[in-house]
Every structure is written in structure tokens, then in C-alpha cells.
Symmetry: C2
Subunit: 270 residues, 2 copies
């Protein structure tokens, strides 16, 4: 094989590391790929780390020791999170987004890969230190954000359903109190979660916190500790939600039915 | 600003381009970011293209002219698609995946960011030339795959629902024939799709093709042409689906209720 230049190695490493955030790659892996010495790969990693830091593109971490290696984390800086949330708050405060009944139309924002990706990176930055083993969400509109959070953390996504579908096998079913004191049903396949695994609950929207509480209670049934509850938007009222420990990226402060406008504000995060 | 070395530029460019597949970046953007000449950026792009090609990491395309620039496409090579699908077929053929009633448990595979990402890249490679304007799926289990397809194509994801939720505003509602000749309902928010936009329909599983046909009919209501219908798994029987033009990545050939095992085979793609 002809000698591979540093520039090519760095381009390839940047692609390989960022394609799987939070995943450890051994230095040996790159030695084989590039047919080069460990010391050279180490130097490459230093340059990569510096370049990513300089242009605010995330963090390159090295883990020492026999089980060590290098990994990429898409840790979002406070200032870039602020920018993202400020922009989102502005979009969601545009006239016409407020639907009859005081509902806010967010489907275009939540399910766009770009926005979902950026929200996912912010959530992952917030909860990375809690080392969740999986992300849990309840169908449907929170799935894109939850998936991108799981991607940034390199963990599986688990989706709770309204009905237990025949094709998911034996399931646990619970009732929970949703908006307006309605009783709703939530089901989760038995094989989806193993006991002791650490759950990060992610959803797109909460008012009373009922669905989030339902997910926390579901995790109780699976003996899975909840290490965090993150939502994209929470309403300011009621201030007291049905479950504690919710962290929201945005607050829906108030709504004006007359003009069809909501006031959405970014929350301080870090 | 101190001079930025080629290696650093390449690392940063690799990260920026691959973070948003299929999106055009101007050379000027990189000239400003790196405080360097256009000719230097052009050279960098040539090295990047070569490195990505050498290590099978996707394609770097340059578009000439005033509106030109550079973009990354995560085009999957036939051999790497074959590897991915072969591996998936093997996982889905493991004993115990077949549930009572002949259903195949795929939730863990479909909703894992890794698998969803790889399936999304294969779908995007298959349909990129059709220039879809958005990806359409029907809730719930196809959403992760559809989102990752949309991400690889840099287009929005649109999610059809079973019920029209109050918070999505005025919606179009249709009935369609699902498995076992059941009549089901599908709804889609009016503001989700504009007339003339090109739809790529993506789902995780089909037997008779009823839901896929429902989505195609829904697009009819929106005057949105369907440019492709991709599913992760289609059953071999019935061979004739309710809608034409479905391309499946995997075929569910047969099932053995006794051992709880399904036979899943990868399909030739390119």
C-alpha cells in the first residue's frame, strides 16, 4: 500500500470518529487502517483535537490504558446551544403557529433531521455525564429528537407505544394520567429493557408532565433507574409538573389566541 | 489569526461536510473559515475526496459554476450495502425473533441509531437521483429509518398519523385497506406538504403493501408526486403488493412457528 499522507488520515479519522459519537475506537484500529505506527496516530489525534476545538466542532477524547482509545463527543458549547435555542424560540414564536385550543404546531421543527440533530446533541451534552444506557420516548412526535439524542450518546432508543402491537411480543401495560386528567394507556415490550439499565427519558413537549411521569412509572416496572428527563418545550404553567426533575430547553410562556402567536423562550442550560 | 495547517483544515472540513450530507457548501465559506485562498481550498477538497474514496467513507462532490460548491454524499457502495444487509438478515433470522401470529420482532433493530443510520444511507443512495423533496412515513416503527433517510438526503421528514391530533391543525384524513382487509385511518396535517413537492415513502415493514398504498393515496390528495417507495423488510408472500414500485432491502422468505425462527434474505440492490 502506498504511504497515506497526514491530511488523508485526518480526513478519514474525522469522518470515522464523528459518524459514531461517544464510541471508543482503539488506536490499533487506525494503525491497521493506515498501516502506520501508534505514535503517528497519536500525533494525528492531537491535531484532530486541536482542529475540532478551534472551530467549535465537538470534542475528541482520549482514554488511556489497555482498554483505551479515542472517541468523539458532539458536546455542544453553552454559546452554541444558546444560539440554537434562541433561533428555535424565534421560529416557534412566529404568528400562525398557535392552533385552536392553544396547541403549538411544532411537527415541522421536531421532525426535521437538522433541528432534531441539534436538539439531540444538546440533550446528549446535558445528560452524557449520567451515562444513560438507553433513551426512552413515547410515540410519536418525540421520536426524532429522542433518536438523535440516542445517536449522540451511542445508545439504543426504546419507544413506548399507546397500544401493545401484536408484533412486539409480551408487553407491560400501565395507565397514566394525561392532560385534562384523562386516563391513557402506555405499553412497552418486555424485551425492550433489561433490569438495572439506566434510562434517559426524552420527549418533545410537556404541559402537566403526565406522559413523562407515565414513562418514569414504566421504568419502575422494569427496575430501570431514570437518570434524566429532558423535553424540548415545557409550558410555564402549571409550574408544578406531575414528575420532578424535568429539564426543558424551551418554555412556552404564554399564548395569544387572537393573533395565533405563542411566546417561546430559551432556558439557561449549563 | 495564525496560519491553519492543511491537516487541521481537512479534519474540520470532513466534520462540517459529513454533518450535513447532501448540502452544498460554497468554497468561499471555507476560505473565510480558514482565512485562505480558493485554490488552497480546492486542493484540500481533492485530498478529502481521495481519502474518502480510498477508505470507502462516501463521496465528495464538487459542483462547478457561480452557484457551485462542495457537498458530501454518504453514497453506500454496493459491497458495503451487501455487508450491512447480510448482517441484518442474519440478526433477524436468529431464533426467538418470531412472535406468536408470525410477527417478526424488529423494534431493537429498527430503532437503534446505528442500524437506522445505515439503512437510511442505503435508502438515500437508492433514491438520491430521484431528488425527493421530503420523506414520508406512517407512525410509528418506521420513523427512525425514515428520519435517517431524510438526514442523508438533507430533506424534511413528514409523519402521517393514525388519528389527527388536535395540535397539528387542519388535516386530510383517508381510509385505506391494511392487513387482513381491515379498514384503517391515516391523517396528515394540511401544512405538512405543499403541492408539487416530491415524496419518498419509507417504512420498516410491509406484507400486503396496504399502508404504503395508503401513503401513496395520501400524496395524491396533496398533489405530491411519489418518486419512490422503500421498505426495510417485505414478506415474500403475497408477491403482488397493493401498490407497485416497492423496493425492499430484505425479504422475509418464510417463518417456522415451531422454532420461532424466520428466514430473512438480503435483496440485490444496485
Amino acid at each position: 500500500m502506498e504511504r497515506i499522507k497526514r491530511g488523508e488520515r485526518l480526513a478519514a479519522m474525522a469522518r470515522i470518529l464523528t459518524a459514531a459519537p461517544n464510541r471508543l475506537h482503539t488506536l490499533g484500529e487506525f494503525c491497521v487502517l493506515f498501516d502506520t505506527a501508534k505514535s503517528t496516530v497519536s500525533e494525528d489525534i492531537d491535531i484532530l483535537r486541536e482542529a475540532f476545538a478551534r472551530f467549535n466542532l465537538g470534542t475528541v477524547l482520549t482514554v488511556a490504558g489497555a482498554a483505551g482509545g479515542v472517541m468523539y463527543r458532539s458536546l455542544v458549547s453553552p454559546s452554541s446551544a444558546e444560539d440554537t435555542l434562541g433561533e428555535l424560540a424565534q421560529r416557534l414564536s412566529e404568528p400562525g403557529r398557535l392552533l385552536p385550543g392553544g396547541f403549538l404546531y411544532t411537527a415541522d421543527v421536531c421532525s426535521h433531521p437538522d433541528t432534531a440533530g441539534r436538539i439531540g446533541e444538546i440533550m446528549a451534552s446535558m445528560y452524557c455525564a449520567e451515562s444513560p444506557d438507553f433513551v426512552l420516548t413515547m410515540e410519536t412526535s418525540g421520536i426524532p429528537i429522542a433518536l438523535m439524542t440516542a445517536r449522540a450518546l451511542d445508545v439504543p432508543l426504546v419507544i413506548a407505544r399507546r397500544d401493545s402491537r401484536a408484533y412486539e411480543g409480551p408487553a407491560v401495560k400501565i395507565n397514566y394520567v394525561a392532560g385534562g386528567d384523562r386516563i391513557e394507556t402506555m405499553t412497552l415490550a418486555r424485551k425492550a429493557v433489561r433490569p438495572g439499565k439506566r434510562a434517559l427519558i426524552i420527549d418533545d413537549f410537556t404541559k402537566g408532565g403526565g406522559t413523562l411521569r407515565g414513562m418514569a412509572e414504566m421504568m419502575n416496572e422494569f427496575d430501570a433507574p431514570v437518570v434524566g428527563i429532558g423535553v424540548m418545550i415545557a409550558t410555564a404553567e402549571p409550574a408544578r409538573k406531575r414528575v420532578d426533575g424535568i429539564r426543558a430547553l424551551l418554555t412556552l410562556e404564554s399564548t395569544d389566541a387572537e393573533s395565533g402567536t405563542a411566546v417561546v423562550r430559551p432556558m439557561p442550560l449549563f
